[in-house]
């Protein structure tokens, strides 16, 4: 792999009410961050089926970011708690599969935290970039 040109493929699964709105706010404030993330919007992180994470990694994603509302701020009361629990389990699963668990990250970005969204994305991109391409990439196709 041409190490220098390699750009990570990162999937961002975000909730409609907090993190997607936060990402929009980063946009209207013109806060710049690296473009190496693609967003899938769900209504709530509670909707994040472990299957989505597995599918992304099997398809060759180098990283997955799940981002929702802060605890206590979930638009649907407690979807983010349930997502956080699932992500915890998913992380240990990834480890057992031989994949660095840092490739999966859950964050909490509210609708007013545009600047934080930019920091989070940059941080995720940096982390995944330092880990290099996913070893599962070969199996994707």
């Amino acid at each position: 792999m041409a190490e220098k040109d390699w750009k990570p493929q990162i999937l961002g699964i975000v909730c409609n009410w907090c993190s997607y709105a936060g990402a929009d706010l980063a946009g209207s404030a013109r806060t710049q961050y690296p473009p190496d993330i693609r967003i899938v919007r769900l209504m709530c992180t509670g909707r994040v089926d472990p299957l989505f994470i597995m599918k992304a990694f099997v398809d060759g994603a180098d990283g997955v970011l799940v981002s929702g509302c802060h605890f206590g701020d979930c638009h649907y009361l407690e979807g983010n708690y349930k997502a956080a629990k699932r992500m915890f389990i998913m992380k240990s699963l990834l480890k057992n599969m031989g994949l660095e668990d840092k490739r999966l990250r859950m964050t909490f970005v509210s609708a007013s935290e545009g600047a934080k969204w930019a920091v989070v994305v940059k941080d995720v991109v940096d982390t995944v970039t330092s880990l290099g391409p996913s070893p599962l990439k070969e199996f994707g196709h």
């Binding site: 209207s28 701020d73 638009h75």
Partner: protein, 710 residues
């Protein structure tokens, strides 16, 4: 890739011609029966997606190579038509969608433009006008999450836009017709908080013919405004202009006033909120309550005989603790309703008040909290503010030096109905001060991490008013105003500022470094820098007034969570859009009035309250609302009846039912809010989340990572 997931049945494609899909409000079952065709099998087999790329002037086109994106979109699977336009949201832009749907027999629409939070409704409408079900539209956000955040990376932004469109096309290929559910709206509203904002909102709603529950945590309505002496810049007496409104609220037939009460629980959704209100034990019966108990002619008439005999003395919070009250009390003579309240935390239950009350039998020392349930269609939050605890800025000596007060305490000290009868005196010795310093931005615009970063917005103006008040009342007094900037932004405010300058107030631009007390005289020495003259100042004054910052009121956080309202970074409640929807929230049917959304002076507060009341009255007057049809459905052939989802649902919308000799899950659509927490967990993949179904989301993931070119 996406295509492989669709099953044999040809299904919903024929809908293209059927405008009935657009006439959606008809009737949707309140309870879900099993759908006629399994939702999984009703996915379109042959998708024909139209893709539209918006330039948004140069907002998008400036950082993204539109022709390259357009050429790329043409290579995508299922894409039947690609176009671009300067402004897709304009009428000609929308017309393109409408005509192309017919001309190219499109089954799905993708617009790559701004955020769906902005223009999804616009393009859904265009899709509907073209004869397609509006939920066959998907947006690719290439502005807020594209061109605007990668302004200097044209290549990266273009690649991201291409991927975003590929992902959106994958989803649009699998979208289904959905019919929004229409539910009736309860013809009643609730306003939480009865300060000037809540009172105004409640009066407007009531005058519009809507039954309104007005909930106030304190024993009286009136809020912060009732504590003020005068109002800037007109110098109207605050109580004089407020009490008529308080009386109106008390008398309005459509307002059901609940003071000394708080919201305990909220269930439901726009049109149908079930709110539980805790009526705190007040220990005193109103005449109506007494009559209901068979005590004819009884109940509290506000005579105050109980007050006289009560042996317990406590500081009165209305007077900022500078005047005593009893354990059975009213805040001040103009309270509405004029009903006494027992403070059970300090009451010793001696029973003297009960004896004094006599035949009215208004006092019940064994009273308990009472829970009341009401149903409302919409709600307005008017939760108000508290003073920032300015003692945290230790350098200014609040709570340490007696003659340093905050501005709300000053309001009471200068107010004719206050603890000193309107004679401004120093707390240390009761002497009238001759030199008074006002410190602006005390805790506001503070980036030290101790105070608040925002401007509290009305402190400049009330401090000017304070300066005027002492000049008016105390001959020979000298006010000093320490300021950063004077923000006199409102109508006639700048003129008021000039007037105070002419009246002789001295203005010193500079933040005060510290205040020291002379222990003998209790005078205060202010050390600051005059940044206009570039020299240090050391000034001895008799009294200091800190124009402390304001912060969200104590139970703002608890109440907002009950209503599912978010907060901004600074703790004030988050509006749906800062410019275009400042009274709305992201929870449909819940609106914001007054300072709880951000610091406002009285005119802005009243305007915001009228706005919130107007917005809250609209769904009630229409009589029904459409809910987004994102609810869960059970794919019964896959459901194992394990019941995991039933426990996960935060809204108790799911239940297990017997069907054909086995247990399957059933959704009550009216209760389901569409979070998808059940769908994210179902081990058998038996839950179909409409519009966010597993095959649709997986198609998006696959499209991103495996590509979707033909």
């Amino acid at each position: 890739m996406a295509e492989k997931r669709t099953k044999k049945e040809p299904a919903a494609k024929k809908e293209t011609k059927k405008p009935a899909a657009a006439k959606s409000t008809a009737k949707a079952p309140a309870h879900a029966a099993a759908p006629a065709v399994s939702p999984e099998k009703s996915l379109a087999k042959e998708a024909r997606v139209g893709v539209y790329i918006c330039h948004c002037g140069t907002n998008i086109a400036g950082s993204i190579d539109i022709p390259a994106v357009q050429e790329y979109a043409k290579t995508l699977k299922n894409v039947a038509h690609v176009d671009n336009y300067q402004y897709m949201c304009s009428t000609p832009g929308q017309k393109k969608i409408e005509t192309d749907i017919k001309e190219h027999k499109l089954t799905g629409i993708v617009v790559a433009a701004c955020s769906p939070r902005l223009h999804e409704p616009t393009f859904r409408m265009a899709t509907k006008m073209g004869g397609l079900n509006p939920f066959r539209f998907e947006m690719a956000n290439i502005r807020e999450q594209g061109s605007w955040v990668h302004m200097h990376d044209r290549e990266g932004a273009t690649a991201k836009a291409q991927d975003a469109i590929r992902i959106a096309v994958a989803k649009a290929s699998l979208l289904q017709d959905l019919i929004p559910k229409s539910v009736p709206v309860e013809k009643a509203a609730m306003v939480v908080g009865a300060g000037i904002a809540g009172m105004q909102a409640a009066l407007d709603l009531a005058n519009a013919g809507i039954k309104t529950y007005l909930i106030e945590k304190n024993p009286t309505i009136g809020g912060r405004m009732s504590q003020l002496d005068k109002t800037f810049p007109t110098l109207d007496c605050s109580q004089c202009i407020l009490t008529p409104k308080m009386v109106d609220v008390g008398r309005a037939a459509n307002i059901e006033l609940m003071t000394y009460a708080e919201v305990d629980a909220v269930e439901g959704y726009i049109g149908n909120f079930d709110v539980t209100i805790r009526r705190k034990a007040r220990g005193v019966l109103t005449p109506a309550e007494a009559e209901a108990k068979g005590i004819v002619g009884g109940g509290c008439n506000g005579c105050g005989d109980c007050d006289v005999v009560c042996p317990v003395i406590k500081p009165n919070p209305f007077e900022m603790g500078m005047k005593p009250r009893k354990a059975i009390y009213i805040y001040h003579p103009q309270v509405v309703p004029l009903i006494y309240t027992v403070d059970f935390d300090s009451c010793v239950k001696c029973g003297l008040c009960v004896d004094a009350c006599g035949d009215k039998k208004a006092i019940d020392l064994e009273m308990k909290d009472e829970l009341v349930k009401v149903k409302v269609g919409t709600a307005v939050l008017a939760l108000g503010y508290d003073m920032f605890p300015i003692e945290k800025k230790e350098e200014w000596g609040y709570n340490k030096y007696e003659n340093v007060v905050n501005s709300l305490e000053f309001e009471r000290l200068i107010c004719a109905s206050g603890p000193t009868g309107g004679h401004l005196v120093r707390p240390s010795d009761g002497v009238t001060p001759k030199k008074v310093a006002f410190l602006l931005c005390a805790g506001s615009r503070d980036n030290t991490g101790v105070g608040m970063p925002y401007c509290s917005r009305f402190c400049c103006m009330y401090s000017l008013k304070h300066a005027h008040q002492i000049i008016e009342k105390i001959p020979g007094v000298q006010p000093y105003i320490f300021y950063m900037d004077i923000r006199s932004f409102g109508k006639m405010y700048e003129e008021f500022y000039y007037r105070i300058q002419d009246e002789g107030a001295k203005f010193m631009r500079g933040r005060v470094a510290n205040i020291l007390e002379n222990p003998d005289t209790k005078n205060l020495v202010i050390n600051a820098e005059d940044t206009l003259l570039n020299r240090p100042i050391s000034l001895e004054v008799d009294m200091v007034v800190l124009a402390a910052a304001v912060q969200p009121s104590e139970d703002t956080d608890r109440t907002r969570k009950l209503f599912g309202v978010s907060k901004s970074m600074d703790g004030w409640l988050l509006e749906a859009h800062p410019k275009l929807n400042p009274c709305g929230t992201t929870t449909a049917g819940v609106f914001l009035a007054g300072v709880c959304q951000g610091p406002k002076d009285i005119p802005d507060t009243v305007a915001s309250a009228e706005g919130a009341a107007s917005a809250a009255s609209i769904p009630i007057h229409i009589g029904e609302v459409e809910l987004e049809p994102y609810f869960a459905q059970c794919i019964e052939e896959k459901c194992a009846g394990c019941g995991m989802c039933v426990n996960l649902c935060p809204y108790s919308a799911l239940a297990l039912v017997e069907k054909d000799g086995r247990k399957v899950m059933q959704v009550t659509e009216a209760k389901c809010k569409g979070c998808g927490t059940c769908g994210g967990f179902c081990p058998g993949g038996a839950i179909w989340m409409q519009h966010f179904a597993t095959p649709q989301v997986v198609a998006q993931i696959d499209a991103f990572l495996l590509g979707g070119e033909q």
